[in-house]
Symmetry: D2
Subunit: 349 residues, 4 copies
């Protein structure tokens, strides 16, 4: 069987690198093009020495890629740039399917996009067409999609935990309070003082308080699940690890519900899912349970405040929160087994 | 002027070590005795090589100390053990003042103590007499106290931020939700698999969900401030750093209040405090601002959920959360300048 | 094709866990038994929560395993224990092949073993028979071996770099000075104060100065390559990372040699090796180039002292330094492609 | 008594920050000016939030400082820039004493300077006049110096360990091999991809192999001690910690010497030194013994190669390796007790 030809745009960032790592192990993927605007012309192992042992094409500009010869494009570009290149791809002949990891096609409402990202959207029809690719909740649409917007890392961990609870009215849409912790790879490879080792190590702090761009995305999808608009509280924190994302979420129970009933509902919902695991009662999710893998672990605990519960969810931000979920979507879009290329167990210690 | 003679009980734990570190710099303290039951007979630098350059007495058993020759005792022992030794100290001749860093004298209600700590209290009169030593809110009682119960590390960060808000009815006593992050030194030097480097590094997870022992302590003091009993939600997380504690707290505003009015109220309340600092609008507290020091930094942010705000508080768990506050209390108890021995600036990077 | 049935002895240590991780991805391996004496009876995910998503047999005692039904045994037990169990395995009916990761069968000379490990060897014939499994230098013997002693982690990094240089007389056997840095997973999961997070983090120190047990092993194999006995200088250091081993080795050049000629010789020797990579001139080996993978990266640099060079070698101590090399040996022993199950690219960041 | 007025040039780097931290605790120092070219006009706590609680002057340009009103200047500027500003300072009226932490005045030979730093020296007379400020070996000259060149961090750890051994002919000047490990703060606060958290964490690698700029400095001072020119082998490694420097040095013994005799000689030489400590036989120096302090710990071990020994030395690169030693020099230059302001014990954990 012929492998599917893929191109990775933005291969010089951490997300691009993790996509390459996973694609190298995928038996049906052939990497035919890698773009990196500022590093075009360089060999991959000049940018990513850890790929030295693997044959990979040199980095090129996105413009130089013949997309008509490609089956699928993974977009790991910054927002705003993404929408322009992806529009051009679809305007070309014989366009490939596009799995976009940027924020550009996640938000349904153009005004919301513009408000949070600061630029008017340049590909409105595509924005309307894109499938929001939280795999476990979007399989049917994914099968026929030509453009998939992969969820942000924070939204992935939150939505997997909360959507079933809202859909089944086990929790109210009020006062959902998400405290999130993230490793530093989520901030990307760009040169900012705040990301220097000596600033981050042996330290921690919240950021984006009250105005992080993943907020409207979470609200959009939770609102859909709840059947009504809602506001969430969301506070991310930077923690000195490379990979990992953990969300501790307090929720209000509807009548008759409890931490146990929520856990049971999630366990049933995800019983057949290969990547989402509800832990036994009392076991706290930890990022070390998922490091380097596409897994998500979830659990629910009683809150000391009556009528509430605490939901905890952990993923690897670069895998299930980004490149792994993108490949999971690719598998669905191309009719492959969903776990293909994603079978690796977590790396611990 | 003659220095005050101090003894440190439990000098082989991290809290004891940080107390020694600070005492060495205190111009009015002379360390005359250090106890460590299992390490009695050893030189301090066998247990703590970083003190090699400093002349310190060898470790002894607590029983072998002549407390009548000591001005102040710092208790860094585990709970249950603390109350027994401290009772004996006060039964002896010419007893010193005692600053206890354990949990034994923090809770007012014997039944609550027994429920959360599993043993009946063995020194009930002392429990009733002890002053809860959150320095900024207990100065008057501290001046005449002979027994001070230093707050736990998590309570310290939470109470400094919340007490003024509750006392002034700027927030409601409902739905106070505390998400806390702590460095690993808070878990002590005991041998547990969960505290091994390879388990903790490059990882993070919540623990004690719904049943951490600092809960009743926070509730007791917040209830006092609110004038009514209350329940809090409190979820601590283990983060791979040595020192530092950060709490991100969502609160419900009372009518007419806002993040700005809360910040302003805290700024006024702590304007003259040497160790509590309300940051300028928009600046997120970070543990790197306080590492190794007795400072606490606080700020308030608007929450996206209307009618709520986010309060953030950061301390060094071993200093303001433990040994530093103990010395601050010592200074008040002995009529010394409150900052004596605590002037060191944070260590960054 | 039927998979090969494997048993992992000592599955509750980090080495055992990494062997399971790799075996799960190996298309020709079926894990049929896992032993862990103190944790016998427990489910694997109670000991290793990161394997929750994978079906694995519960832990049992080694004695309870029917080794006649197993094709290969991986021994991840402590030294001394290993030799006893492995002798019993070979005394049983239809014994499997054994790949031992302990130190018990590495040393050829019983007296040397007893001197460094403190106990007389209990399986002398097996000690004589075992193949020292540095794969790239032992393939022929491995094909017919029934007992393989996998090299220690430090020896692996040193020997891959130095054997070709000594065999070809490019360096002298004198004054080989190995400075080694290791992550903490190498110390295992046992409860020692020295391995606690708060002791190790934000710190580093040498250990085993002048008497580390990997010394005689390195000397044995280097002596074989040099054709004469030799002494090495070897100083390992503990560094606060989970995985990774880096060795910086100064060597004396023989006449006419240079850093360039050494690099060229190594590049030629390893040109066709899938896991050993000589880097381009000037590129320093780094553990991030190999994390989580079976790769080794090597380079050579001029020393400022005339007549010497600096050889640098990096591996992941748990993979090429332990479980990965064990599986590589397994592949050779069973006639499988040598890279099977080991194709995963390094995990970075 | 009036305090001495000091200015810190380059106060926006990590070295400058640590100098401020220490100066704040120094009873005879008053910080009257802080320069930071690119951050001139900013408040200190905008650049260094951890100094929020301390009254400090805003950052200004170096040009705007009236040096005639200053008693001492600490130069924390990059090389080349340093020499120009310091020349101007000495050309002005009533010049202060200058303690320079850059590399500009460390090398005696202008040609060596130009070769290693790439620019001709712009203040040759000052270069000739400057005292090389390894305090323990330069006290007499320091007392009357007006310009002191503080040693680099790597040289400090190496020279303290080796100078007495060479001076007393206990080791030969041949084959001195220094393997050094350093925390990341030594790389400064400049924006380089190599210093990003995600690049450095959970990783380690050597750098500057064969051409690090601290080499000629170490050779100059060791050559002086040996009475003859010499070459050293020096390989620094980057380790994921903030602070700390550890050097493991193999040396050749002269006739009749041993590890024990070397340790004894060092112990005698440093017996009265407040900051240099020779550890008991068998105790390995560790950076956690000195973190945040001005101490240096040293020990000597037998090497397995006959006729050699291993010398290990540990410091905090920002304190004894930089700002602490600068203040120690300041104390000597102004006739103050040498430990003034440097009494703080190490911070552990």
């Amino acid at each position: 069987m012929t492998k599917l030809k893929i191109a990775v745009l933005g291969a010089s960032g951490y997300t691009g690198a993790d996509l390459i790592r996973l694609a190298l192990l995928h038996p049906q993927m052939e990497i035919v093009a890698l773009s990196g605007e500022r590093k075009a012309g360089q060999a991959v192992d000049a940018v990513w020495p850890h790929f030295k042992a693997y044959p990979l094409p040199d980095l090129v500009t996105a413009e130089s890629i013949d997309f008509s010869q490609v089956d699928a494009v993974f977009g790991c570009l910054p927002h705003a740039t993404s929408q322009q290149i992806i529009r051009q791809i679809f305007e070309g002949p014989n366009p490939p399917k596009v799995i976009d990891l940027s924020a550009d096609f996640r938000l349904r409402d153009p005004a919301t996009y513009e408000q949070w990202y600061g630029n008017p959207h340049a590909a409105l029809e595509l924005q309307g067409e894109a499938v929001y690719g939280l795999t476990e909740h979007a399989r049917e649409q994914l099968r026929s999609a030509r453009l998939v917007a992969c969820p942000g890392c924070y939204p992935t961990a939150a939505l997997l935990a909360l959507i079933p609870l809202l859909q089944n009215r086990l929790i109210t849409p009020r006062n959902i309070t998400i405290n999130a912790l993230s490793g530093v790879s989520g901030a990307g490879r760009s040169l900012k003082e705040a990301n220097l080792f000596a600033e981050v190590a042996e330290a921690m702090h919240p950021y984006g308080l009250g105005h992080h761009r993943h907020m409207p995305e979470i609200e959009q999808e939770l609102g859909k699940a709840a059947g009504e608009p809602l506001y969430i509280s969301f506070t991310p924190h930077l923690v000195p690890i490379n990979r990992g994302e953990l969300e501790t979420i307090t929720v209000e129970l509807t009548d008759g519900q409890s931490a146990d009933s929520l856990r049971e509902a999630l366990a049933q919902r995800y019983a057949d899912e290969p990547f989402v695991h509800v832990l036994p009662k009392g076991v706290a999710p930890a990022t070390r349970m998922v490091r380097g893998s596409n897994h998500c672990v979830i659990n629910v605990f009683p809150d000391r405040i009556p009528g509430r519960a605490i939901v905890v969810s952990a993923i690897d931000n670069l895998v299930k929160g980004s490149s792994g979920q993108a490949i999971q979507n690719f598998n669905v879009m191309f009719g492959l087994p969903e776990t293909m290329g994603l079978e690796q167990a977590p790396l611990f210690p």
